[in-house]
């Protein structure tokens, strides 16, 4: 797999690790201006480790849903032209705002990803990538509702967390339902489980239909 410009495997303490270039954010190891991208703390990082192609390119415009405290969003902002980082919870937003202080490309938005109209006046149309890591029920519905921001040749890189949909149902069944729902708006290109980095998470790369 070819990694996009700005994302590389670099050596940290004798170990080859995925990395981007920027100021460290969460105590990750750094070397020569590069910072290790910890796949155990980042589902997008785990997607790269699993050989998937989320479609992120240098200079892209990105909508990131479920940015939490900005661990992954900071890596995306190292590569992208602009990252609209949507997070619903007030507590992690404090950290996300601090991360935005170190990265001009990061635009933090305290909004509900289930209500795209509440940020439609800020987030621009025809974006290159939609990254989604929301931990609410109806994760596929959220991806479909946010299709409006994506260019026709854009990419969706989403993670479906089985336990956020249903704590007792078999994860496989949960994933099948989510994929069925996604197919209303997207063509699914590849799916992979993120074990051992993240248990019971299905990563999905898709393009708009």
């Amino acid at each position: 797999m070819d990694l996009p410009e700005g994302i590389e495997y670099r050596e940290f303490d004798g170990e080859e690790r995925l990395a981007t270039r920027g100021e460290p954010v969460y105590g990750e190891p750094t070397a020569e201006g590069w910072r290790a991208w910890d796949a155990r703390r980042s589902k997008l990082g785990a997607m790269y480790e699993r050989g998937m192609e989320p479609g992120l390119q240098n200079g892209d415009r990105v909508l990131y849903l479920g940015a939490a405290n900005g661990t992954t969003a900071s890596h995306v902002a190292d590569v992208a032209r602009v990252v609209y980082a949507v997070e619903f919870a007030a507590r992690p937003m404090r950290d996300l705002v601090d991360v935005a202080g170190t990265r001009d490309a990061l635009v933090p938005l305290l909004k509900d990803a289930r209500k795209p109209a509440s940020y439609g006046h800020v987030v621009e149309a025809d974006l290159d990538v939609l990254v989604q890591d929301v931990a609410t029920r109806g994760q596929a519905r959220v991806a479909c509702a946010n299709r409006r921001f994506l260019a026709d040749d854009g990419r969706l890189a989403a993670v479906v967390k089985a336990r956020s949909e249903d704590t007792v149902r078999d994860p496989e069944a949960v994933f099948e339902d989510a994929l069925d729902h996604l197919r209303n708006e997207y063509r699914v290109l590849e799916t992979k489980r993120l074990d051992p980095f993240h248990a019971d998470h299905l990563a999905v790369v898709a393009e708009p239909r």
């Binding site: 007030a90 937003m93 705002v97 001009d104 635009v107 305290l110 439609g120 800020v122 409006r148």
Partner: protein
Amino acid sequence: MTEGWFAGLAPDDPATRDRIRDGSADEPADWPALAVEDGFVADEDDYYATLHDTATEAARTAATERERADDRQVIHAIRAMDDTERMANELAERVAEWAGSRSDDAGTGVEFCRELAHEDADDPTGERVRSLAGRAVALDDERAALETFLERALPAVAPNLTALAGPTLAARLLSLAGGLKSLARTSSSTVQLLGAEEALFAHLRGTAPSPKHGVIYVHESVRGTRPEKRGSAARALAGKLTIAARIDHYAGDRRPALDDELADRIAQIRSNTEATDGSA
């Protein structure tokens, strides 16, 4: 309506922040190009720089406001929890007295109400006693649900204070101080005595010894320390709780080192058999 957050405004107008927070548009548009076209900014770079600064400021103020609002919710919940507990116990007392007049093997307390609520009543009076017991049980269930709510809500509102004090005591301190901001601005000696106001005023009137602790008495660090050392333990605990509240209000990140410092200090107080007790 499809209008960008910048429509009709200048980049330095504070109303841009409010627009980001409260505005909406059903469909997105090429906002950077429109902003240049409108003369809001000179070029795309300028647009992204302005958006970054404005959105960051909007997110910061909105998050702070939301969190402040959350500490109010916690205060309502702990007061409601105390109300339901008091009312459940009062009703349980009434039930015990009434049931005791009808049967020699009647028990007491909410647990007895729980048993009684499941029994079949064989006459109209028994039915009233059974029904009343059911009300006490329902109130006790509500108390438990409020406690669970607090356990979930407190770590988000005050992570360090909750780690040190536990959710219930943390909520009580917030309630007595009137919120996280006030608690963060309260001196450690006041935190030590929050909830002991009656005893403090009795002391100031000269009719009682000075109180050594208020609600923090329920903390294991104080209650589990032998009586002659409890003043020291209470002072040490209040000091750490005050620092925790300040970190929670002004910084917001979790600092586990505080927990260890408190544990070390309490261990030191408990092992120190000489009367020479250093200040916390």
